[in-house]
Structure formats: C-alpha cells, structure tokens
C-alpha cells in the first residue's frame, strides 16, 4: 500500500466515524443513553487514531519524497533536509488543513473521554457539535477542495521543494502549529456554549467547564503570534516584526476577543453578569478563527501569506456563514432566559473596568477588521483598488493599546462593587509613583514622543501593581500561616494560580509593550554601499564588510556577506545572505542578527555586485530592546501555564461529578 492510499483511506474511515459519532452523541444527549455515549467515545478515539495515521502517512510520504502525491511533488524535493520535509506538513494549504483536522480530532476525543465525565449531558451535546465540525474538515480533506493525498497528474523526477521562505528558518516548525492549536482549541468553548444554548441551560456551567480550554487556546494563539513575529523578524529581512498584514490581523483579532472573554468571564463568575455578552464573545472569537483561515486560504486579500487560490474559499465562507447564522439564531432564541439579574457597579469597580476593557478590545478588533476588509468593501462599492497600511492601524490601535495598558494596571487593584477613597490610596499610591518615575526616567534617557514615554510610564505602573500584589500576598501568607518568603511565594502561584498566573501574564504584556515602544521609536538605521574592507558607522558600532562569497548547499546556493560588527563589547561576525532556491524565481534574503539584551544589530545584505563581487550595499539597523518581545511572549506562556494548572485539591472538596445530579443521567 502506498502512502497516498493509506492516508486517503484513513481519512475516509475517519469521516465515517465522525459521522457515526455525531449521530451517537446526539442520541446519547437526547435520550441520556449510556451506550450511545460509549459508541460516541469510541468513534472519537478511532477518528483521532485514523487522522493521526493520515498525518503520519503524509509525513512518511514527505520524508521518502513520494512524488506520486501532488502535495509532496509541489512542496518537497529530493534535496530537502528531513527536518524541513517533516514540517512541510504545514507548508501549504492541504497539509495545514490536515494538521488542523488532527488537532480538532484530538480535542473531540478529549471532550468525549474527559469532558463527559463531569457534565454528561452538556458535554455530550457539545461533543455532537465537535463531531459535526470534524466531519466538515474531514469532508474538505477527502474531496478535491483540499485533498492532501491527490495524486500527481504526472510523477516528476524531482519535486519543486518547499516554499523558499518556509525552509529558511526553524521557527517555521513552531509558529503554524501553535496558531493552529490555538485556533482549533477554541472550538471547545464554542461547542459547549452552543450546547448550553441548545439545552437551555442559562447557567454558567459551560463556562466553568471550558475555562481552561479557552485559556490554553488563548495562550497558544498568543505565543504563536509572537513566534510568527519572531519568524518575520528573523526571516523576511526588513528589520520589523509586525506589518499589519491581513494574515497577521487575522491571527490577532481572535486573540483580542479571546482576551476580552477571559476577563469578562470573571464578571460572570463573580457577579452573574454579562451572560449574553460572554456568549457573543465566544461566538465572535470562534467565527474570527474561521475568518482567519478563510482569509489565509482563499487568497481573497493581498498578503505575503497568500496561499494559492483554491476551491476551499467558498466552502470555508459557507461554513463561516452557517456558524454565524446558527449561533446568533440560538443566542436570540434564548436571549430572554439569559437576561442579567443585577447591575454593574460603580465606575470605580473591577467589573466596570472589565467592561471598559472589553469595549476597548472589541473596538480594537472591529477597527482591525475594518482596515483589513476595507479594500474589499471599497472595491466592491466603487471599483477602486486601494490599500490600508500601517498608518491607519498605528493611528487607531496605538491609543487603544495605551488605554488597555492603563486598565491592565487599574483593574486588578480595584475591588468588586466599588472602591472607597482609602482603598484607592492604598492600591495606587505606589504604582502612581512608579509611573511618574518611569516617565521621568524615559525623558531623562532621551526618549522623544508622547507614545513611547506614556508606554514606559504605564508599563512601570503595571509592573508596580504586580509587585505590590505579590508582596502583599506573601505578607498575608506569612501572617496567616507563618510561612517564610520563598515558600509563601511558591504557594501563591500554586494555590491561587489563576490570579497570580494572570499577574505574570500582565508582566509579560508590559514587557512586550516596552520592547515595542523602544524598537519602534529608537531604531537607528543606515545604508551604505561598501567595497570589501570598507566599513560604516551606526550608533556607536562599526560595521565592516570583510568579503562576499558563494556557498553551495545541496538544496540551495547562497551569496554570503562576511560582516564584522565592532562595538564596545568586542567583535561579532554576521553573515547576511541571499539564498537562491531552484524552485524560486526570486532569491530569499536572510539578515544577520547579533541579538543582545540592550539592542540587536540587524544587518541586511540589500544588494551586491553580481558580476565581480566588487561591492555590496549593507543596511544596518540598531534596534533597542527588541529581544524582549520574544521574552515577553515566553513570560505570557509561563503565566498561562501557572494560571491553567489546577490548584492542589483540598480533601473537603468533593469530586465535581457530584455537581451533575441530573435525574437519570447518562452516566
């Protein structure tokens, strides 16, 4: 049996199990039938195993260069190293949908086996929805729309090789899977929310059941976005990391609404408010993940990421419309039962800050959506083609981001219901001082422009609130349990992980804000044409071009400039280069980066003498603090892990299965 037959067969069998599983879980939920649930569980597990088999078959085909499969022929070559062969699974449309399907099958199986234990009826209904979604994606990969195992029209001697931009950097191994995991895991909160609406359970049990899925999905999406920015910085060679490209926007939009959701969830848990709003955020976030896939995969918007035009566009659009119609319909149908009892508190209460924060996050999302889709709207209305670039997004999103940074410091410091003057003084005296110190320090250090100064001040404000909270937590534990500082510190994160993990995430965000402000406002750039031996001076560094040479590698040819950067801390050698891939009409430039905690020296080979290598044009950018963006991404990841880990169980708490005292339950 060939890889192609194995993979295609596995996907068809998986489709069958997904369909049967959907039927079985509907039956189990409707009639509270134990055998139905058991069948659904086995269907989920078998579907997962079969999709995993199909993914492995694709990896097998890529590693063994089986060009009988069209996907392998156009995304792999005999010279492709094994590592890049494996990650070519997600280098193009069909393979990435295959990976997507695998993650969705995993989430479905997890809900089938774990979720249904605590809340049988709700989870089984959610399971039916997940099975239906899985069936949709399995339909995509078993029909010509996105068939990864479609045979080649003719079998070539050698394949075209992976996209040059994708085989240039190992970060490509990290960025797409993180994003896909994030995108797909949000299906679980969505499915539970829909199940809750279908069953008419106006309560917030769905929300408690899926809090962790939402958090993990959000964290993966966030770290995936940061990894993508890092990839862009290290590979695309323009010295930046964010270009407001439609596909970047597509990734950040669901992250923004998910961030809003993770916070407004707390209002529902503590105050039983904002129920409809939370459901709308879940629906919106999920729809935006599909919109992102649609924008990336349909080629409808101009983007560096544009995959080839494919029949999958209309199908994904149909799926998106169906999801929006069904979920909004359900929401309207149940709207009366969802009405909030009680009211929001005073303007200076935590729930009010969460409300403002939610408005800002949703406004940021909608304005990004407007800027992304406006070229399409304008073309449809007036026939004119136009582009909306960074100036629009910077002008609109920077003030929103600064306001959010401010609220990030304020929100956690305010009590629910409202704050007295004494509370305000106690909570904000120190952070306000820190903010003033941050602003003054930035101005003394020579920062120009109100946005960066404000950013530093607000980041100091946020950092001070976090330090203050942790210090008070430690002191409280010391007073209560007589713990010393170090054990109290650990206990805070172990026992109140959600709260203190959240603070760590806030620190990571503040770090990223500072790094963005510094790198955007204080980068020094210079471009000069140098002969070998010549040098240029940029921001206290001397950049010398030593030589220009050819390097032949099996899968590509490179032209490398040997560059020496001399600074206060000695010499660094960099090799900015152009890579020529046989399948690409255009070379791929790779920058040479000397990363450091204070600043990165980013050297680009902009042009060179193709005849005699007598000169090269070298562009040098000295970019302050940019590495801290990636560090901040890691801090957000760590904070999310702390927040997602379950706290140690106390013996007095009974198993949550007791909560579901459903009459004649399915369990």
């Amino acid at each position: 049996m060939s890889w192609g037959e194995l993979g295609a067969g596995a996907l068809r069998a998986a489709l069958l199990f997904a369909a049967v599983g959907a039927g079985a879980s509907v039956f189990a939920a409707r009639y509270r039938d134990v055998r139905g649930l058991a069948s659904a569980r086995w269907c989920a597990l078998l579907a997962l195993a079969l999709v995993a088999l199909a993914d492995l078959a694709m990896i097998g085909a890529l590693v063994t260069h089986d060009f009988r499969i069209a996907y392998v022929a156009s995304n792999n070559a005999l010279e492709t190293p094994v590592f890049y062969s494996v990650i070519s699974l997600w280098a193009a449309l069909e393979g990435s949908i295959l990976l997507w399907t695998l993650v969705l099958a995993g989430a479905t199986a997890f809900v089938a086996w774990r979720g249904t234990v605590a809340m049988p009826r709700l989870a089984t209904t959610a399971l039916a929805i997940l099975f239906a979604m899985l069936a949709f994606f399995l339909l995509l990969v078993t029909t010509p729309a996105a068939d990864p195992f479609a045979p080649s029209a003719f079998v070539p001697e050698n394949g075209r090789g992976p996209n040059a931009l994708l085989q240039n950097n190992p970060l490509m191994a990290l960025h797409p899977p993180l994003l896909y995991l994030g995108y797909v895991l949000f299906s679980v909160p969505f499915a539970y929310a829909m199940a809750s609406l279908i069953l008419g359970e106006g309560g917030d049990r769905w929300l408690v059941a899926t809090r962790r899925y939402a958090l993990v999905s959000w964290a993966l999406l966030g770290t995936g976005i940061v990894a993508g920015a890092w990839w862009s910085y290290a590979v695309l060679g323009w010295g930046g990391y964010w270009a407001w490209d439609p596909v970047e926007n597509a990734a950040i939009m669901p992250w923004l609404t998910a961030t809003a959701y993770l916070h407004s969830v707390m209002v529902e848990e503590k105050r039983r408010l904002l129920r409809t709003w939370n459901l709308a955020l879940v629906i919106g976030t999920f729809a935006l993940t599909i919109l992102g896939t649609f924008l990336t995969r349909s080629g409808i918007v101009n983007s560096v990421h544009a995959f080839s035009l494919s029949a999958i566009g209309p199908l994904l659009l149909g799926y998106l419309v169906a999801i929006l119609v069904c979920s909004s319909g359900l929401l309207l149908w149940r709207s009366r039962e969802l009405a909030d009892r009680g009211a929001l508190g005073a303007p200076l209460s935590r729930e009010a800050i969460f409300l403002f924060q939610n408005v800002l996050f949703v406004a940021a999302t909608l304005t990004i959506l407007l800027g992304t889709l406006y070229p399409l709207i304008a073309e449809a209305l007036s026939g004119n083609q136009l582009s909306i670039g960074a100036p629009y997004f910077d002008r609109v999103e920077v003030p929103i981001a600064l306001a959010l940074l401010f609220l990030m410091g304020v929100g956690p410091q305010l009590p629910w219901h409202g704050a007295s003057r004494a509370t305000l003084e106690r909570q904000f005296a120190l952070p306000a001082l820190a903010a003033a110190a941050g602003a003054i320090g930035a101005i003394i250090a020579g920062t120009r422009g109100s946005a960066p100064v404000l950013t530093y001040a607000l980041a100091a404000f946020v950092a001070a609130t976090v330090v203050q909270e942790i210090a008070r937590g430690i002191r409280a534990r010391g007073a209560l349990h007589g713990e010393r500082t170090a054990p109290a510190f650990v206990a805070l994160f172990r026992r109140s992980g959600r709260r203190y993990g959240g603070y760590v995430v806030h620190l990571g965000v503040a770090l990223i804000a500072v790094a963005i402000a510094a790198s955007q406002s204080a980068t020094v750039e210079s471009e000069q044409t140098l002969a070998p031996g010549g040098s240029m001076s940029v921001a206290g560094r001397v950049v010398t071009l030593d030589a220009i040479r050819d390097v032949d590698e099996p899968q590509r040819r490179r032209v490398v400039a040997d560059v020496r950067v001399s600074g206060p801390s000695g010499d660094t050698r960099l090799e900015p280069s152009f890579a020529f891939y046989p399948n690409a009409t255009q070379p791929v430039g790779t920058p040479g980066i000397s990363a450091g905690p204070g600043e990165d020296v980013y050297v680009i080979l902009a042009a060179y003498d193709q005849r005699g290598k007598a000169w090269a044009t070298i562009r040098t950018r000295v970019i302050p603090l940019v590495s801290w963006i990636w560090v901040g991404g890691a801090v957000i990841g760590v904070g999310s892990i702390i927040a997602a880990l379950p706290p140690p169980r106390r013996r007095s708490v009974r198993a949550p299965a007791i909560l579901e005292a459903a009459p004649a339950g399915a369990e």
């Binding site: 009680g342 044409t529 902009a606």
Partner: protein, 152 residues
C-alpha cells in the same frame, strides 16, 4: 464618594452609576469609531496600474501605489549613490520610477512589483517604498491586467 457597599445593587444610586458606566462605554466606542473612520479616509492609498494612473491623471504630489511588472532591461542600481531606477509597466503603459536605496532582494526584471510614492511634475514616479511581490506560486500578471487582490 458614594457608599461603595450599596453602590452596585439595584438601588437608585446603583442605577445612576450603571447609567454612567454604560454611557462612558458608549462614548468610548463612538469616539473610537470616529477616529477609525477619519483615519481610514486619511490613510487609504489608491492602488493603480500605470495605465489607470495615466487615465485618471493623478495629481503631482498625491500618494499612490502602482502595481505592475518591472520591465526587462530597465532595472538600474547605482551602488555608490544608491540611486534606483526602473520602469514599471502593465503591457500597455509604462512609468519611470526612481527611488533611493537598494532594491528589495526579491525585485527582479520581469517580476511583479508595487511602488508607493508620488508623481513628480515631470511624470517620473518618486518611490518612497518599493515592494517586490513574492507570491507562493509566482506568475506574471497578464498584459494590461489590474493588480488584482486575487493574486495567485
């Protein structure tokens, strides 16, 4: 400062506070919408082919984006002054482009490019930004074609 404890309920003070919060949120949303609409109008850059640019008579000094192909044999880069010149065409019309700085690594004669900048009074396009198109599957646009959003 109203009594914080009784301020969040459904009493009279609560309803007043709730209105205030809701109004502030609404004002915030409207303000952002206004800024967004203003910025959208102010920053939109029209995307034209050389033919459309000639037909519409884009005024000198107005920012525009031209999309087309770099004409074969037209790409000149003067290494020392870093003076960049090329002709961008769509098979019907051609426009001389000048810029400063090395061409982007992906810029090639015969390949697609997008330039952003302004026309001078002499009809020469002064590019502030030169973007080479690097599509996953490269394909030259057909003659006279509009640089479509639906690039392959």
């Amino acid at each position: 400062m109203p009594d914080p404890v009784n301020d969040g309920g459904s009493g009279r003070a609560g309803i007043g506070a709730r209105r205030l919060v809701a109004l502030a949120a609404l004002a915030l949303a409207i303000g952002i919408g206004f800024v967004a609409a203003q910025s959208l109008a102010g920053t939109a850059v029209y995307y034209l082919t050389p033919t459309e640019a000639k037909e519409k008579g884009i005024a000198a000094g107005q920012t525009a984006r031209l999309g087309g192909q770099v004409e074969a044999g037209s790409l000149r880069y003067e290494p020392v002054s870093r003076d960049l010149r090329f002709v961008i065409g769509d098979g019907v019309s051609r426009v001389q482009v000048v810029g400063t700085g090395a061409p982007p690594g992906l810029l090639r004669e015969g390949a697609g490019a997008v330039v952003e900048g302004t026309f001078g009074a002499d009809g020469v396009f002064r590019a502030t930004q030169v973007i080479a198109k690097h599509d996953e599957v490269y394909q030259a646009p057909p003659p006279g074609a509009t640089p479509s959003h639906r690039t392959p």
